[in-house]
């Protein structure tokens, strides 16, 4: 976790010296500019990275089928793979500037359409799971941190650590086996569910149960542990003693003073994780055949579907960068100290 936090801390250290008025704008512009620069690097990297993959894409695609040399040459020309690398790159950038991510080699549809299809299932599943994870993690973390060492703390921390260390694939399979027949084991809807909104929504909810439980179980621990430890750090702070001395009830001390201060590292963590939400959870998506982005990326990687790989790479990396910038900006709002420094 600490390695995730470091960039933000560095970012905080880089905060320009306070020049009243222009400071905020400059801060915001610096952050956004940095984000854009990172994204540009991602574009270049994505192009080069996937071209370093072993295996000739066209050869892989036609393997096992009667393919004439003419057909192979045609495919290469169609994909623009017969051009020199620099020209492929120029074409790629040109198309990208027009918002064209190319056409998937395998699925024969525009990459953008493919990503769009897979985007919402992922956001739905991982978004809901993250929401539950965060709520659960913060709640348990606060309770266990506040009464550190008591039975609740010991048990909940033990359980959280165990679940966190559990392989997603295994837990998913286990849940599936344990609940045979109760919940669907694959996909997002049954193929024969009536098309009206209510039936579809209920069926989707039904399909989401197992993947969501799996995803929550393996992720909530990190929020809980960060919340717990940052609350423990605040425990001995003088302002809490003051608050108690003022005669506030224990409950109020926690709610009004300790938790808001302890929340900051957790918020950072949440936002950084939101970036990865888009990347989905490949293992959960695979175990439960969830038609999400994570699996799309994995499948594209296996066949070497270059345009699709580049497209998903951009979206995944873009989401992380975007959330990072957002976290940086939000931190300034949430923590007065950042503004003042």
């Amino acid at each position: 976790m600490s390695d995730i936090l470091i960039p933000t801390e560095e970012a905080l250290a880089e905060v320009p010296p306070p020049t009243r008025g222009g400071g905020t704008l400059r801060y915001v512009l610096t952050k956004i500019g940095g984000g854009l620069l990172s994204f540009a690097l991602v574009v270049v990297l994505g192009f080069l990275l996937f071209r370093a993959l072993p295996g000739d894409v066209v050869q892989t695609m036609v393997r096992g089928r009667p393919a004439t040399a003419e057909m192979i040459a045609n495919l290469k020309r169609e994909y623009g793979l017969d051009l020199p690398l620099w020209q492929q790159f120029v074409n790629y950038i040109g198309d990208l500037l027009h918002g064209d991510l190319g056409t998937s080699y395998v699925y024969r549809v525009p990459v953008l359409q493919k990503i769009e299809e897979r985007f919402w299932p992922t956001v739905l599943l991982v978004g809901v799971s993250t929401l539950i994870s965060v709520a659960l993690g913060l709640w348990i973390g606060t309770r266990s941190g506040w009464r550190r060492g008591n039975r609740f703390d010991r048990i909940s921390t033990g359980v959280a650590l165990t679940l966190w260390s559990t392989p997603t694939f295994w837990l998913g399979m286990l849940l599936m086996a344990a609940t045979t027949g109760l919940f669907p084991t694959a996909g997002i809807v049954y193929s024969d569910t009536p098309p009206d909104f209510l039936s579809q929504a209920l069926d989707i909810a039904h399909h989401m149960v197992l993947p969501t439980i799996t995803l929550v179980a393996v992720t909530y621990a990190q929020y809980q542990l960060v919340m717990r430890s940052s609350l423990i750090e605040e425990m001995d702070a003088d302002y809490l003693t003051t608050a108690r001395a003022k005669g506030l009830r224990d409950d109020e001390v926690r709610r009004k003073h300790a938790v808001p201060n302890a929340l900051l590292p957790t918020v950072t963590l949440v936002f950084l994780h939101l970036g990865f939400v888009i990347a989905g959870a490949i293992s959960v998506e695979t175990v439960f055949s969830w038609p999400g982005l994570g699996r799309l990326t994995y499948d594209a990687l296996r066949v070497g579907d270059l345009p699709l790989l580049q497209g998903t790479f951009l979206v995944l990396a873009g989401a992380v960068i975007f959330m990072n910038v957002l976290a940086d900006l939000l931190y300034r709002v949430l923590d007065p100290r950042v503004r003042a420094s």
């Binding site: 892989t60 089928r65 057909m71 921390t157 694959a186 579809q200």
Partner: protein, 627 residues
Amino acid sequence: MIIVRSRLLALGVTLMASALVTAPVAVPASASTAAEAASGQEGKILRIGVTREVDTLNPFMSITLMGTSILRYQFEFLTTYSQGTMTPEGALAESWETSDDKLTWTYHVRKDMKWSDGEPVTAKDAAWTFQKMLDDEVARTANGSYVQQWESVTATDDYTLEIKTKVPQATMDALDIPIVPEHVWSKVSDISATPEFPMVGNGPYYITEFKEAQFTKMKANKNYWRGAPKVDEVHFVYYSNSDAAVSALQSGDVDLINPLTPTQYDALQGEPDIELNNAQNRRFNELLINPGAATNDGTPIGNGNPALKDIKLRQAIAQAIDTKTLVDKVWGGYATEAAGYIPPMFKDFAWQPSGDEVRKFDLDAANKALDDAGYKKGPDGIRLDKQGKPLNLRLLAHAERDVDENASPFIKGWLKDIGIEVTIEPKSDNQVNEETTRGEYDLAISGWSANPDPDYVLSLQTCASRPNADGTGATPDSFLCNEEYDDLYAKQLSEFDRTKRIDIVKEMQALLYDQATLVIFGYDNGLEAFRKDKFEGFPQQPTGNGVIMFQQSYWGLLGATPAGEGPVPVYDGSEGTASGEDTTEAAGEDSSNTGLILGIVGGVIVVVLVVGLLVARGRRKTADDRE
């Protein structure tokens, strides 16, 4: 629940709001496209759990096994393969004949056929489809190899189709090309685009809905010329996790699944409502032995061990491979022991060594042959090649495939027994493909799916299938380049008498066996299972011991028989005569060794649990100390 006010609350509200914004968008997205299948509620539905993904359902573009298999139910080809012996028999064409110069083929199209929208099927539809492929290279993407040697296509009248070829071609009665309705496709502007659903077809079922990575739905074609199927709908439901598909079969969410791993197959044994099918299949597995790779103009390439150019050494290696043990240990018995190059399920073309040809597994004999050939053993028991260097061979294996992983150690062990050291090199599929194509291997594990017509797999061993200088342009397999074999290959391709052609193909297999540039070590069986409480059964191809899914035709699903509506039909009135061509799909093998993984993971979990508890305890202690 905790009531943390101010910022936490605000955060929560924001997150909630964003979830609420996204959720409704996601729901209608799936709801609206499902609208079409509104009526599919009542009626008999056959749900098939599949673990292979559809690429596209465009008949001109689809190349994956799943896509082309679904399209087989959608569109009738000129001919199909009989249920019993897989000989070509009439489908869209009722009969056909060749001119005396063997260059003109005349097909007589069935008169009683209708498209699923009620329009009549005519020879013009076929002519339009083929002409489109001749004119437009994009339309040749999937099946271009069939029309490569064609001169012209004409519909001389509504029910007669004439195809002229540039050279005599024996495989013209086995063209696996979906024939599309002209009245629909002539209006399509982008031939490579995803077609509209429901898709007008003339096969036993037609596609009504396709949700990529989720399911494909087909409806029975009531106009089907052989008579409408007994089920009303077929749903192919996609599972990215084959164990989930098995679990869905057990709970009744799906009715039929293919493929199963041997472990899954065993686990389903004894389930009262489930019927298992252990079927002969069309894939063969081989060990390639690099005989000195070269490009198609004869320039040597790659870095194969030169010692393997010696046929004696290759034959000794072949003799040291025990197919019986591999079938038992690698496939748990769910495979067929090796014989010839063409898998035994293709009864006509299959060959097996007999008499003097037989090279039985015999380590002593292999050792003796190597001694006689002058491969002396060094001090460490490893034989030396003619230059006096120890024989150390690399074995290239697919890291992601169970067969490769399990067979390699056996091969290594046997070769060690005959004094050859083997280093196993597991690599990704792409790397294996690339390195075998460049000839950068000594031994490599490979395999292909054969077709009712053997032409394609036979062509893999010709000189012409070796790559261009830049390592592209063809798909080499064993890098054999043998004049006699190439002559036989050309001969079988222009031999129109099926019996004679079969003889030539068998002769070619004998030659391959003798040359030992590849050693066949087994044919995987197709393992499938279905709910017998819901379905009486399905026609198998070949009848009796063949597969239900992924047939070289549509019999399995055409004859799907719901429980109580038996008996299962048999479509075995062989009408056809001659030979057939091909459509091989690289079978995307599912390497699921879940049992093993579960075992290991279970162990890991116990350790993790203990460590987790210890850490938690430790934390408590330090916390206590601090206090």
